[in-house]
Symmetry: C2
Subunit: 342 residues, 2 copies
Amino acid sequence: MRLQPGEHDALIDVGGLSVGHAQRLDEHWATGVSAVLTPGGATGAVDVRGGGPGTRETDVLVADHLVQRIHGVALTGGSAYGLAAADGVMRWLGERGHGVPVGAPGQVVPVVPAAVIFDLPMNDWGNWPDAELGYLACENAGQDARRGNIGAGTGAVAGPVKGGIGTASGVLADGSTIGALVAVNSSGSPVDPDSGLPWLPVEGLRAPDAAEVEAARAAHEVRPGRHGPIARPLNTTIGVVATDLNLSKAECRRLTVAAQDALARAVRPAHLLVDGDTMFGLATGTGAQLPEPGDPGWAVRLDEVTAAAAEVVGRAIVRGVLAAEPVAEVTSYTRLYPSAVE
Amino acid sequence: MRLQPGEHDALIDVGGLSVGHAQRLDEHWATGVSAVLTPGGATGAVDVRGGGPGTRETDVLVADHLVQRIHGVALTGGSAYGLAAADGVMRWLGERGHGVPVGAPGQVVPVVPAAVIFDLPMNDWGNWPDAELGYLACENAGQDARRGNIGAGTGAVAGPVKGGIGTASGVLADGSTIGALVAVNSSGSPVDPDSGLPWLPVEGLRAPDAAEVEAARAAHEVRPGRHGPIARPLNTTIGVVATDLNLSKAECRRLTVAAQDALARAVRPAHLLVDGDTMFGLATGTGAQLPEPGDPGWAVRLDEVTAAAAEVVGRAIVRGVLAAEPVAEVTSYTRLYPSAVE
């Protein structure tokens, strides 16, 4: 049974959050920042399953730790250098009084977990997101449902083709909404070279012509780079899956497990040593209520939610790849298999 | 059996690393950054045991993850805002070519895990370490064996008294060295109010006069702040314990377990929800060699090393408290119990 998509079929269908992107894309730059802001607070969890993560503030998300609600998540390019983007997201939130109160009114410390993708080879050396670009992503935040070469997905590459930002949402029977936003930059491929179709089926695509599939085979044998093939692939898929249910930190952790399952289905191979695949799970609590742990129906309901999370994350990944456009020598799925989208 | 201290009785006795501090201490500021630099690389691990951590790049330290050697650790004030200091440490290392190679020669990504202490109430609002102060700590790095109100310990408070940077070292029978550097900013106290002595014995102190112990009891009932008692204690002790042995990431993890044991002995209560107690364990590999895991003598040797780690970390904590000087209304151990150090 497929989920009914939300109004925008995007993360921003989840109440209590906003999404903003900032990027630089020209002949010297292809990178950016995506901010998911939850100024009213959201419970959260994280699952790091790739071997090469770049993260900050993930330790606050452990279920038995102090902070119960976080104020945003920063997804960014720039490898570990890009962690500076979270400084800007913190500043933006802090200036507006969103954070953990630590003193006089307005004196707050925003909690902003962050993760990075490795997109450095898509930029001149030294060009990576900084605190200003993180701040700008917050300035741009709103009901942004866009996909493709924006935000943290600007310089993304997914196996043989351009990657990007994907987003999707679904509405559950109880009226709760689940949404996802993913920056797809996987070392492995989202495309089955034998069929030319994404590993995860998606509506609106048809099987590409056999001749096209044959012609595209060579693309699967190289690692595309901005100026032609490169020795080592770009890597790391990061994302946020969120719901408006009232989940605890431990329950949010189940969302991240489902999100990593979706990544395993959509990208093959996934979770390599060179990937830093990291998924955040958020619950804003602005919508329907889940039963308390152990109450009748609790586990069944939560398992429905996490199954929906996997579906939405998988769709976000595929849609990110379909929406991405070529950058320099890096082709796109729709250019490699034009007959699939005719 | 007590360890023989190293030449400086400080972390810098461990080969393959340097220590640098930068701080601001005046009527508006009391905070800083301490950088432990391992430009040649060090294996590392982390243990987060307090409930309120502020960290970055801790996920790279998981034993089965890609990065095998890190290039420094940043300890900083400023709560989560202070994580920006690691941006400056990364920049300093990167400019000098120290990091994971990711492209042409000199193009590197330094891996710099970091942790913060909560010292915001010791500063005017908005005053916290930034990337520039992190960079300056690296500029200052060398054979620095100082303790007290420097670096990340500048604004530290430990229970009823001023906290600070503590450091110590020891030399094992095999010639290997173990050293520690700790920023003591514990919610709990390092001092037994009934004796006026540190919970962990340390050479050179005598039991304070009974009248002094009585007079000091009131100090244990309040949370000292810059301008007088405050409602909630400052919190979080962070540190680095390092050896010149050739430890694996998994073996380094044993160092961090021992370091947290030392914290549990030296500070009571320790590891509170409001503390973010985080310990890093590093091995530079420039000295003696440990047998391979499973080889004869391996476990016994490693357990000797970790027992030494606990001793050195414990001594670093106590020495940090003894070396700290009063800041404004926050008294010091030596001022509270002058007869202990006469």
